[in-house]
């Protein structure tokens, strides 16, 4: 089922949680709402679910206005960060809850409920825990039960609020992959909220980056990562080095260094900042045509990626660079070495308030 969000506005007292947010979610899509805490992503999710009401604006489900529809009529499955399982019920009863509270006429028979619940428990690979109580389960197991519970009522939309937020790193990774698979099997329109950019980029079909109650950028994960639309998105998606300079004649000029800007980049001139990811920096011992020079201060060489920390000459800023093991071995870097850096790729944004 497709969801259309039209000009949603929501305030809590003086705080604007959502400002004129509009968004289309395609049927069968797995969409991530990504942003720092307090950016309004959870509020937006709750408004889609009907757990919160917008001050103004509309929510359309499958083209029909659902703004005033009650939660229970929206047929949404909601998964909470802290699971919200019913502690006094067994795992089985938790999953069966949505079916067993239906009015008698619409309620499936006991056997039908039993079959359905066991099928769902098999789907989340926890059928052997049917008689356990929630507090006997691990966090990852609880979240899978919560998911099975929300799927039992065959929702048309699945909404997940930081579903992996309370889990440890390893379980998180497994569950992430598992959720992706589940979505590919079921093709139910899903929206999940996260503040973890890696999670959003890895799992979703489309990422919506939010900040201060507004949508900063929406697009496919690779699109967003390769062509961030704003300094905020660039910085939020991962580590980045900042270099201040000017845009002039289609080039980004930083000191004596100039980098020709591609079509995606800004055409206007003025004071600007270049954002360069650590792995987009080339290190070499050759001077000439370099963006900057620096001395090696720290080398972290565990794993396939070697992280090098440089102290930039002149400004004394720290620069992070990431090399492959091969590059690192060819360079034979040592602490205190003087190296030159050249960017392979940079994102340039004009400084706010800069004259154009």
């Amino acid at each position: 089922m497709s969801i259309e969000i039209r000009n949603i506005q929501k305030r809590f007292g003086d705080f604007t949680a959502l400002e004129n947010v509009s968004l289309d979610i395609a049927s069968g899509e797995l969409l991530a709402l990504l942003g720092p805490s307090g950016c309004g992503k959870t509020t937006l999710l709750r408004i889609i679910a009907g757990l919160a009401t917008p001050d103004s604006g509309q929510i359309l489900f499958h083209g029909q206005d659902a703004t005033d529809r009650h939660v229970s009529e929206r047929q949404v499955g909601f998964v909470f960060q802290h699971y919200a399982l019913f502690r006094h019920m067994t795992v089985f009863d938790n999953v069966a809850f949505g079916l067993s509270v239906r009015p008698r006429a619409a309620r499936p028979s006991k056997e039908a409920i039993r079959d359905k619940v066991m099928k769902l428990l098999k789907l989340v690979q926890l059928d052997w825990l049917a008689d356990a109580y929630p507090n006997q389960l691990s966090g990852g197991q609880r979240q899978r039960i919560a998911l099975a519970r929300s799927l039992a009522v065959e929702p048309r939309v699945l909404l997940l609020d930081e579903p992996f937020g309370a889990l440890d790193a390893k379980v998180r990774k497994d569950l992430r992959r598992w959720l992706r698979q589940l979505h590919d099997d079921m093709h139910i329109t899903s929206v999940f909220v996260t503040h973890d950019q890696e999670e959003a980029l890895e799992v979703s079909d489309r990422v919506v980056v939010m900040n201060h109650g507004k949508i900063e950028q929406a697009g496919r994960p690779d699109e967003i990562y390769e062509h961030p639309a704003s300094p905020f998105v660039t910085q939020f998606l991962g580590d980045v080095n900042l270099f201040h300079g000017r845009v002039h004649d289609g080039k980004m000029e930083i000191g004596d260094y100039a980098h020709a800007l591609g079509e995606h980049q800004t055409a206007a001139g003025g004071a600007a900042t270049a954002y360069i990811r650590p792995h987009d920096l080339d290190l070499s011992r050759e001077p000439g045509e370099a963006l900057a020079a620096g001395t090696v201060e720290h080398i972290h060489a565990v794993g396939p990626i070697v992280r090098v920390e440089l102290r930039r000459e002149g400004s004394g800023d720290l620069i992070d660079a990431a090399l492959t093991k091969d590059q690192y071995q060819t360079l034979r870097l040592m602490l205190g070495d003087r190296v030159f850096i050249r960017p392979k790729k940079l994102s340039v944004f004009l400084d706010a308030g800069a004259d154009i």
Binding site: F80, A84, F86, H88, P134
Partner: protein
Amino acid sequence: MRFKQHSVLPGFGLGLGYTLFWLCLIVLLPLAALLMKSASLSAEAFWAIVSTDRVVAALKLSFGASLLAASLNAFFGFLVAWVLVRYPFPGKRLVDALVDLPFALPTAVAGISLTTLYAPNGWFGQYLVPLGINVAFTPLGILVALTFISLPFVVRTVQPVLEDLEAELEEAATCLGATRWQIFSRVLFPAVLPALLTGFTLAFARATGEFGSVIFIAGNIPMVSEIAPLLIIGKLEQFDFLGATAIAVVMLVISFVMLFAINLIQWWSSRRHGMTR
């Protein structure tokens, strides 16, 4: 069962020692003295004292009225706690403080005020008596007094548990299509039930031991509105110490059996819900 379980918390031996010592000193010793005293009675004499119609009627009244009062409070106390936790309203803090008043008020004061209210010429009595409802100097009056003094127990045990219930539980149930009544009866109430049971037990225990407020409003008519504690006092005043201890022992045993039974129910229900380890 192993007697000593290894635990990361130090001081199990010392802790258990103090606990037992304290319980012995404060609870068991006086009760043992009571039992010792009554042991000087022969079985026949003991039975003769406690099986008189007057004693049986008083015991029935004491425990019956206490159970009824605790049940009333389980219902209305739950309601008070629910309203205090769930709804914001002006003067909420004042109402919250009012709940504790029966704790703080000397019970004799409570008894005198209730009697004044319900006496045939009192504020309530003047309207109730013509309707044929006599509260003062009847078992009904005892019920009113016991309900009054045991109200805070249920409210104060249920309130924190209600406050701790996550709003997400209700939201989850709503999303799953449950009606408001279903959310209450299947999600919220079962979560509060253990606390409610504790509150009920405390209220019941308090009510059985109550003396001060009851004697004023009860009228203390033998066989009708005379509670067991009063009977004990009566015997003491006539220097019939053995008779007093005999009744006291019976009260003690009944109380203990009932409290133990309620504890068993609680233990069973919490095990069923997987809340103990």
